[in-house]
Subunit: 313 residues, 2 copies
């Protein structure tokens, strides 16, 4: 009935930034940050600290890089209490050189996102961040494309070589049904003796929240959500639903709902996240949503039969 021990991570600005090249205005970022602080959740991830070598700053907004001065503008004057500020770093799109020592940074935590094949880069990054004084976590993306025994080796490496607090099951494509989730949680728990298991799900099949709950019930203790599910393509587990489920008396849903109505709903004018059939189709087919995102921007967006024929291999 109650899951107080769940570490709740908001990644609205970070994952949502995949829909608008991280071009959020400062007011929106501050509103999300303030709502997270006021609600009492554990971690707010304000964007990526990715490399300007890999992303053109003329094209991408501030929250793809999270420069210290921008983090300061986003958080200045807002009482963050015990809440941690996180940044995500893609293992293949950033380097340890992008980090200051933690005591000179606005951020407390680095979450390393990686595909199984980039695990060595991710471990190097996580160790560097750890040595610089950050808390660390590891998000293994596209888990429904991972094969055994590579994934098992990857989990063993993380367990042995890093100090990350949590290792995430990330269903980037929104493909996962519950039987696979059960398998993955058990697999992670078997290999990660000293780390928490985290869950980050996408909503292509309207399962992001259900799978997050089921992950928690089965032992995951870190869970990601975004306000109104804002995130790439079909989006994420809606933070408001997660909070409603957790029934943690220290977390208040109202600041999140207030921010949702005032700052997230207006974004719908320009960004079309959430459940749409092209995203559902790539989810069912276990594919990256990129083709669906392109289709949604094209002239035949509601010709689902044509899209299905294009992507069904």
């Amino acid at each position: 009935m109650q899951h107080e021990k769940t570490t709740v991570v908001d990644c609205t600005i970070r994952d949502g930034g995949l829909m608008n090249d991280s071009h959020f205005d400062l007011e929106t970022v501050r509103a999300v940050f303030r709502a997270c602080c006021e609600s009492g959740i554990d971690v707010c991830e304000l964007g990526y600290r990715n490399s300007k070598e890999m992303f053109d700053p003329a094209k991408f907004g501030a929250w793809r890089f999270c420069a210290e001065e921008d983090l300061k503008k986003a958080t200045d004057g807002i009482d963050r209490g015990d809440m941690k500020v996180a940044m995500m770093m893609d293992a293949h799109k950033s380097t340890p050189d992008d980090l200051l020592p933690a005591n000179e940074s606005q951020a407390d935590m680095i979450r390393c996102a990686t595909y199984v094949q980039d695990i060595n880069k991710a471990i190097r990054l996580a160790k560097a961040a750890d040595e610089l004084g950050y808390e660390t976590a590891m998000n293994i993306m596209a888990i429904t494309h991972a094969h055994m025994p590579e994934l098992e080796d990857c989990l063993d490496q993380i367990e042995e070589e890093t100090n990350v607090q949590a290792v995430y099951i990330v269903d980037s494509f929104g493909n996962m049904y519950m039987d696979q989730l059960h398998f993955m949680v058990a697999k992670y728990q078997m290999h990660l003796k000293t780390k928490a298991v985290g869950v980050h799900f996408h909503n292509n099949q309207q399962l992001a929240f259900a799978n997050t709950m089921e992950g928690i019930v089965n032992g995951a203790t870190w869970a990601d959500g975004t306000i109104n599910g804002l995130g790439r393509a079909a989006g994420n587990c809606p933070l408001e639903l997660l909070i409603g489920f957790l029934k943690n008396p220290d977390i208040d849903i109202l600041p999140i709902l207030d921010c949702l109505g005032k700052h997230i709903i207006p974004l719908k004018e320009n960004i079309e996240w959430g459940y749409h059939v092209p995203y559902m189709i790539t989810g069912i087919l276990n594919q990256h949503p990129q083709a669906a995102m392109q289709w949604m921007a094209g002239p035949d967006k509601h010709d689902y039969v044509k899209f299905y024929a294009e992507v069904d291999e």
Copy 2:
């Protein structure tokens, strides 16, 4: 991996009619009917056969009454194969007098919808329909408001006194988490030795599809869906997701996707079904969505904090 034995029921026009007073134009109804026939699902419910004493025909559309001549217009010239045509009758809003003998009707099946307290009316209705030659099913609405032992008595009565093929768990308010679902499926199975268990869920917390799957995995063998989830308030389990999960080689998803893009998406101009925060709030609070539907039509539709304060008792 495969659940071929699931009886799949489409109730797009019936449940969707709760959003537009059953005012669908004939072209839409025929398109849904044709898509169901072509996809190979088992049952298509075309509306309510409710009483004109209870619903003013000047206000409500044809699909609240399903007059035989309208059913004929909706189905004429379309090869229905083995698919059954169903109508729903509300136990407290219709009488057996509203029914012709089955062999004079376009409909094959009567689904009796009832609250626990109206079970005697529902049983009378189901028995009358059975005697007239219809297949029958029973939908127990608002199951999250049912108390024990009343629900147990109700299930025993249905088991002993009727020939209904299936008895549904209906989460009218979209309140149910998985632990309660497990409890209900087990409770139904314990009391219904000769009937199938059915599942009909609403999407207030984005759990309609997840709960439908979990119901099936736990032994429910009848499942309701609607195209794109069209239905009251947050809507229903999307039929296209259910089909994607079932992997029944006799069911084709493409006619459903085609109908969805061409005939259901355009309805969004006038009907706002799906996940919206006011519906989520009534779902979490285990309340009828009526207050949320009114709020969504008002001037403060995105002031969720104000709505929460109004409905939180």
